[in-house]
Subunit: 515 residues, 2 copies
Amino acid sequence: MARERRRRRRRRDSGTGPGAPDGPAQLAPRQVRNRFPPISVFDPDELDKLHIASLRVLEEVGMDFLHPEALDILARGGAEVDRETCRVRLDRGLVEQAISTAPAEFALGSRNPERRLVFGGNAVNFGSVASAPYCSDLDGGRRAGSFDDFCNLLRLVQSLNIVHLSSGYPVEPQDLPPETRHLDCIRAFVTLTDKPYHAYSLGRTRMLDAIELTKIARGLDDDGLMREPSLFSVVNTSSPLRLDGPMIEGVIELARRNQPVAITPFTLSGAMSPVTLAGALVQQNAEALAGIAFVQMVNPGAPVIYGGFTSNVDMRSGSPAFGTPEYTRAALAGGQLARRYDLPYRSSNVNAANAVDAQAAYESEMSLWGAVMGHANLVMHGAGWMEGGLTASFEKLVMDADLLQMMAETMAPITVDEASLGLDTIAEVGPGGHFFGTAHTLERYQTAFYEPLVSDWRNYEAWQEAGAPDTARRARDLVKRLLAGYETPPLDPGIREALDDFVERRKREGGAQAA
Amino acid sequence: MARERRRRRRRRDSGTGPGAPDGPAQLAPRQVRNRFPPISVFDPDELDKLHIASLRVLEEVGMDFLHPEALDILARGGAEVDRETCRVRLDRGLVEQAISTAPAEFALGSRNPERRLVFGGNAVNFGSVASAPYCSDLDGGRRAGSFDDFCNLLRLVQSLNIVHLSSGYPVEPQDLPPETRHLDCIRAFVTLTDKPYHAYSLGRTRMLDAIELTKIARGLDDDGLMREPSLFSVVNTSSPLRLDGPMIEGVIELARRNQPVAITPFTLSGAMSPVTLAGALVQQNAEALAGIAFVQMVNPGAPVIYGGFTSNVDMRSGSPAFGTPEYTRAALAGGQLARRYDLPYRSSNVNAANAVDAQAAYESEMSLWGAVMGHANLVMHGAGWMEGGLTASFEKLVMDADLLQMMAETMAPITVDEASLGLDTIAEVGPGGHFFGTAHTLERYQTAFYEPLVSDWRNYEAWQEAGAPDTARRARDLVKRLLAGYETPPLDPGIREALDDFVERRKREGGAQAA
């Protein structure tokens, strides 16, 4: 029965769009758009109060930029800079003027032009899990991330149409030496996937390497890269009110080259920001605006994303919590703030569960609805994140793909025309009949409804007979099918060679050792 | 550690509101309000097309009302009635005129005045799972429902503040004889809980018994009951376009007495309604409007709820699916239609999963967000539904309570005032500090954040050490604690005796045997 199902799915697949040849039916690749208006949590007066409070923070308290080059740029830009303490105060007029040059929308490309993504407006892009030190699957258990796991997670990202981009290392390849790890990882992004990707802002050297590899991958020179944003970085502030040196170097190199940066304060309410949600959001907004103003001082007009990552801690244990009511409201609020400044918005799909169980799913759904209804343009950690970010789960990754596809389909319009209103078929069937065999049904039934990746709609008896597989176990099977069916996206052998040459040369030079 | 946690929870409980004395901290009982604007799926023109198409269905195709008394009422009301086929055609002016007398808002009471619920506007009320033939818990497995299970599920309903009402038999007590089952069940609603409840429209006799028991419970005479709606019924049409005799008898008896009825077409797209979502909604709307018009012809001004339950079938197997993208959009669309007619709206928290696992949670969340953002005033099956309604799960019931509480908290406003904006504490902590020990934090941390019922935020190692309990297992523990801590709500002994006398007399008479 399972085999028959798979066969039928495969048949359907050819009609719905590319996926692994042996993989499940998927939604065709597409730029997801959110047709619903965003949900706002604040009235205009409250929003104004938040805005003004965060400008007062930057004016009266200030923010530390821990890099002399940043202090130069900020001083030239008109900020009040204390070079000894690295404290920077920005008056409200300066902040408002600086952020006004940031574009409301931009595109991010990759070596496959069909993977180009728009950030801004009602566009929604789902990224993979990023930055987990551990990974897990049901068969192998939980373990420190390796480059092997890293590559397999990338293969899943490439195989799933709804995962639009790699938003960081899905897992940290702890078996690779830190000084050359970035070289292997960026090369893997380019060769194992053809989707846009992220480079960490961990100092100038690593970022310049990522930029060079990207230019090789896309066959672009410096001017070409300026015209076509092709890699991005998420930069977390060290809340409260601090931006670290390595982050700053990454921001400067990207902004100069017109590559997008998402400034994301990590404002855990009760720990790194006030215990009140409004206070945490004031601080998030202050830090985000300061970072965005800085990017614009580096290069006015450079693409930038307003990032929100406010959540709360468990006040008993200090553990961070995700997908909570506070988190979801903060995700909606962050979107409202980003819209106030007409900036693209970044949110996340996060949870604090230790197993791919109900909690993992409901906290993820709470995050996702917050992200989507807050009109996030970039949903980081869209697929695979577990345990507050400590673990990338193979099963969660493919299960999340189902959640993301469902969200994309939920946002799709309902067709309303004479044929879909169905008056004729309602009249034909009449009271007491059924619609299974009507022409109206037969013409449409194969594509009428969303077909899930891991949901199981068999009745209880059939499900029992099949061994009562829960969602995580079904996801495990899908992981195997996707990895078995994975196909490396085609790449010009000359480019492949140039990438390898660059990586080998930089490894010989010691990678980021000197940095 | 678990014990210490429980002790702390108990301590906190006294501050947050009633719950079982040994139970977890809960949100205090309250009338939940949804401050967010609803999400609309149709533009005004599309909504109009749906409206007009459904009126054309009632005018041109008609609907079967399978009861002579209904045909009399409809004929007197101005409908075109064919008594032989029971086919009723209502012209659009008649429908619009009839539904115009239905109130936009009403209240439903019970014997505890604090449990009174408002239906309409932005009020949200969460009902228990209803009408499942089976029930399950992790220890006892899946089994045919018994009265014992029925009573234990009611005890959970009573113990959980966020479950506002019993929206039907949580499980069918299959060990009770059908002709007197309703007597035991309604008495159990009254004695084991003090929350509003539902009576099935399964013929006149059963409904009259439920009405008498309710009058006894509340100490009301006929006039008093007219003034204070105290029990309600959900009436499903037999889609397509049919209302059965036993349902009609229930509707007539309730509407005459000013008790609310929720008319809910069960329009499974592709089976009992067109395979197109627009077509299914046209049919849902036609059936709901016909039922509502009928209620208003029985008693103009009687409270009525517009029910939506459109979902899709798995077109491979014919199995119904729930919490799908189609389901969620239909839930939003149903709300938009109900608002067009200024009527209270009913939706549901449903899923098709066979285990209390990730699928159960994500399909439930999709349903819940559809219900809440569609501005449902009554969320049926809010807690406990599994397997497309075949099973009531004890663990799912308490886990859903967590989902419902999270939803209620997500809809709560974020306080924005000088203290919550936290400028002073941000200045006090400054760049690079932390907020754990500040006065601002210490004054608020105990109640700042939502405290979950079953979510587990321990780190992986602590969770492993505790036996790695997944959400369902944690829910099992909570079920036991709630049942152990359950307290029967106080009831005047005279009322108790009168209820027993009535039940015994009616049992001696054979219950609904004659009906």
